[in-house]
């Protein structure tokens, strides 16, 4: 089914009597998702409002991410949270999966850039929350709830986003030859000093990469200050641009085995890294680890850490505590009383 208006979509959902799955480009379905009748959201597309001088964009959910990028680029702006541009993916899919790239350490996640939305719930009702202004505390913030809800609460039809200026200058510092604790320590130096680093990670080839962005003089100043702070940690190479960060951002797409997404405290990362079985990458200064593994392998998680197998078999670790699980289930039931929407974590 492919609705071309919000009213159409609402009618479809009201008429449904079996499992539904809401899809954009279906480029990021996780194990267990995509079952039942699909509602293809790509008919609801187009930018409804773009005010570059207010850093705000309102866009229908089925709009291709690529089209959003194009519109923003023409005004020298971007999505600060840096979602990976999987071909065919839609802004609704990005929002519903809270897809957030390396700049999350400095600019926040997709949910932090989401300021308003419209959606159709499982009862076929159209609701609105938030708005199109940066600051809004009028009532409960259901925008955050919908961000990352993976189509389990309803179909997002329109999303208001905060945009960001494209920095005029970018540079990447590269360090190689560091062991796991050394790599995490280098990222920690970068993120805990006054360098305004906008990305810190390690590629599967073990190169540590640190990104600086801003006005040209400023990037030059901070690159040399950061290089000085890292001198006793190995050789630092400074390259223009941030191609390495695109590689890091897109790494999950190149995974060939079961892919685990592990979120933890950077101070816990070295220990976890020591126990990984195969190819992996580090992002968010050590707070995110992407790890490829054979079926059946499970990470040995430190306290507080979370892990999901995003490709392969469905697994989420650890299981949520009973109160959280009850709240999650009860909220889903309020949005989707007939239990139409498939999948979801």
């Amino acid at each position: 089914m492919r609705p071309d208006s919000e009213a159409d979509l609402a009618a479809m959902i009201r008429a449904a009597n079996g499992t539904l799955s809401i899809t954009g480009g279906a480029t990021r379905l996780r194990p267990g998702e995509g079952q039942g009748a699909r509602i293809d959201m790509r008919g609801l597309s187009g930018i409804t409002l773009y005010e570059p001088e207010a850093l705000t964009l309102v866009v229908r959910a089925g709009t291709l991410l690529a089209d959003v990028h194009k519109a923003l680029a023409s005004e020298k702006q971007m999505l600060g949270f840096e979602p990976d541009p999987r071909p065919g993916s839609t802004i609704g899919g990005v929002a519903a999966s809270n897809a957030s790239g390396p700049r999350r350490v400095s600019a926040g996640a997709c949910r932090d850039a989401m300021i308003g939305l419209r959606m159709v719930t499982g009862s076929g009702e159209v609701i609105r929350n938030g708005g199109r202004v940066m600051k809004n505390v009028t009532g409960y913030d259901l925008v955050k709830l919908a961000a990352g809800s993976r189509g389990t609460l309803g179909a997002l039809t329109e999303i208001a986003l905060k945009t960001a200026p494209v920095p005029p200058q970018r540079a990447t510092l590269r360090l190689s030859g560091l062991n796991d604790p050394g790599a995490i320590a280098a990222m920690t130096v970068a993120l805990t000093g006054p360098f305004d680093v906008t990305g810190a990670g390690r590629l599967p080839d073990r190169t540590v990469i640190l990104r600086l962005e801003g006005l040209p003089g400023s990037v030059e100043y901070r690159a040399s200050a950061l290089r000085r702070a890292l001198t006793d940690r190995g050789d630092v190479q400074i390259v223009e641009g941030d191609a390495d960060f695109r590689t890091l951002r897109d790494y999950p797409r190149t995974a060939t085995a079961v892919l685990w997404r592990i979120v933890l405290r950077p101070s816990q990362a070295s220990q976890l890294l020591a126990g990984l079985p195969g190819r992996h990458a580090i992002d968010w200064g050590g707070a995110l680890i992407w790890a490829e593994a054979a079926p059946g392998w499970q990470p040995d998680l430190p306290p507080g850490a979370q892990a999901d197998a995003v490709a392969g078999t469905v697994q989420t670790l650890p299981a949520p505590d009973p109160v959280t699980a009850r709240l999650n289930a009860a909220i889903r039931a309020e949005f989707d009383p007939r239990g139409l929407f498939a999948g979801g974590s």
């Binding site: 001088e53 600051k135 925008v143 801003g214 505590d321 109160v323 949005f335």
Partner: protein
Amino acid sequence: MQMPDPDAGVIARRDDIAARLSGAVADKSAVITDPAETRVYECDALSAYRCAPLAVVLPSTTQEVAAVLRICHEEGVPVVPRGAGTSLAGGSMPTADAVVIGLARMTGVLEISTDDRLIRVQTGRTNLSVTGAVEGQGFFYAPDPSSQLACAIGGNIAMNSGGAHCLKYGVTTNNLLGATVVLMDGSVVELGGPMGEGPGLDLLGVICGSEGQLGIVTEATLRILPKPEGARPVLIAFDSAETAGACVAAIIRSGILPVAIEYMDRPCIHATEDFCGAGYPDCEALLIVEVEGSEPEITEQLSLIGEIAHRFAPLEFRESRSEEESRRIWLGRKSAFGAMGVISDYMCLDGTIPVSQLPHVLQRIGEMSAEAGLRVANVFHAGDGNMHPLILFDANAPGDLERCEALGADILRLCVEVGGCLTGEHGVGVEKRELMSAQYSDADLEIQMRIKDVFDPHWLLNPAKVFPLATSAPRRDRHAA
């Protein structure tokens, strides 16, 4: 201010309830029923509305909060969470049948990890003292409401508070990684996690800004950031609001991200000059733009801002060259509310508008103010469109307060009409409860109330706030019986 009738049965059982509550806390002085002592808890900073609570409890631990809530849950007693009571929307105003749970004794620092860029605190701790705990290590906590010396982190989370620097650093929700929350039935839940992510739905995101209606936040994990090397403001004066507004837009478009862009209009400038003599120019509108970084970075940014500003022919472009000059540039802005208070009673609004609508809205406010015969001064966070029109009135003149409230409501409706919202940082509370239907449809409000049903099925936590009284009545009545 209309509030629902208190539950007479609860009031009749006051002594029994107080005795049970005393059993739930280690320190017996933590339960207060003496009317002389509960007076402090009658209202928040919206002091026009007040009511003495049934009792006040000041727990010291999450377990005590849970035990107190369990008792209130069993007894069917409404509960009002309270941080420092600086809410400007009546969010922590009690009713006569309510127990106030004050977090003022819960001020501990539980953990600091600069490597993980976080601090964990009890939520009665004040906003400013969170920075105080980490500044020795070169860090700070970014959200900085003007009330930061007094207001508590729990109140900040409940209101999703912002501050002058949120243009760059975001508001509370963007800086909150985790929370320990006690639900009305006394169950305790840990939300969030590393990078703020927990399993399943983003419940932390919903708790933030829920105005104490979903649970009591007893502990919070907050993101801390390394302090920038320096900061410097520039003051730019204009002969019209339109030009000032256009300059704001041009700065934002240029790709520079200042940490703050503040706006003041002529009435406000005059009042602050009389009050503190900051030495502001005589002009229609002025902007204070602050940038951060190392010395060369500050110079680079300010020279770009200078280029942009000069396209708008400013009356003056005053770049600070010393600590003392920076202090004086901020002095008037920081004294604005106090200065207005000296010349008149005033009501402070908190609407947000798309920045593009600034000139239109300022013009309309001028017209509406003339029609109502009440003066309005404007001071606000221009970078993100969060306006604080101050309506001046005479509290002793009969009818003035009512005219003032009516004008306030009209201005907030105007904010909604142009694409903005009723409140950017102060919250809905009891103050803007009835205006909610100007921004949200019945369906929009219904789904929000269903979230409350999930967390607090009997509507005992901070009831009669946020939602229009009539809209929420069936839910409150359902359980009062």
